[in-house]
């Protein structure tokens, strides 16, 4: 198993796949308190020019957050996490969250992040700064 501190520039982090469902959007609305009808009401979303309900941007960001948290495990801490929402995410779309190390600065890994659909459509672009935890390294096998 590769340790976080072994990652170098251009290395990719493990990807995360996601396919949103209508039920997930309802669950996320309940859990986050965001009941904006563009995520829940088909008619409303169509009238708003969106073509149908779209996933909460923050639900998409949460998927990228999950990818990062899994990757960091106990070996790093998230310091910065920034995203730009580029495309509507729809129910049933097969999406991939991915990221790679753009730069290494001391104990910090600067990462480039994105979410794309199967067709290669850009849904999200972002970046993260991860700080390596130094204490654990001495005791790690």
């Amino acid at each position: 198993m590769k340790h976080l501190w072994d990652y170098g520039v251009n290395d990719r982090m493990p990807e995360r796949e996601w396919c949103p469902s209508a039920q997930q959007l309802r669950q996320y609305a309940e859990a986050s308190g965001d009941f904006n009808p563009i995520h829940l009401d088909e008619d409303y979303a169509r009238k708003a020019g969106l073509g149908g309900v779209i996933a909460h941007g923050m639900l998409t960001m949460a998927q990228v957050g999950a990818m990062l948290t899994d990757w960091l495990a106990m070996e790093g801490e998230l310091k910065n996490f920034d995203v730009r929402f580029q495309g509507m995410v729809r129910i049933g779309e097969r999406l991939k969250c991915s990221g790679y190390i753009k730069d290494k600065d001391g104990n910090d890994l600067i990462c480039d992040l994105k979410v794309t659909s199967e067709e290669g459509e850009k849904k999200l672009a972002g970046s993260a700064v991860v700080s390596l935890k130094t204490e654990d390294r001495k005791t790690a096998i």
């Binding site: 996601w18 859990a31 986050s32 009808p37 563009i38 708003a48 639900l59 957050g65 999950a66 948290t69």
Partner: protein, 133 residues
């Protein structure tokens, strides 16, 4: 939405709102996202904290689109923590795109723990279609 009215609100702080991070709320959030609940607070969970009122600004409007989101984390956040959030409007501008005239509002939220330490900063860019009251 009145752009000039919003511009007048730049820098005005909301009333602070304190919330206790409850394990059932984090569990519900984790389940909705599709991750196991391991008693840790997922990084985007802070977006669920109730926001203080900025008089004259209604951010929870139907039809609002989220453009960008940024987080800076300063201290670890745990289940059981009490976090106090204060929000303010950072910038307001108007642009015209394919869906018509849109108003862009950037808000910044600062979260503090019970010791008064800055725990996180969040910056949201929200896009309001024109005509929304």
């Amino acid at each position: 939405m009145n752009v000039n009215g919003l511009k007048d609100l730049i820098g005005k702080e909301s009333s602070p709102v304190t919330v206790r991070i409850e394990d059932h709320a984090v569990r519900k959030f984790a389940e909705a996202v599709g991750i196991p609940f391991d008693n840790k607070v997922p990084p985007t969970f802070v977006i669920t904290f109730p926001q203080g009122n900025i008089e004259g600004f209604n951010s929870a409007q139907d039809g609002t689109v989220h453009g960008e989101q940024k987080f800076k984390y300063y201290q670890p956040i745990s289940v059981g923590d009490s976090i106090t959030c204060i929000r303010q409007i950072e910038d307001v501008c108007q642009k015209t795109g394919k869906l018509g005239k849109m108003t862009f509002v950037i808000t910044e939220t600062k979260g503090y723990n019970a010791e008064g330490e800055l725990v996180f900063k969040a910056s949201s860019t929200l896009i309001f279609p024109e005509g929304n009251a």
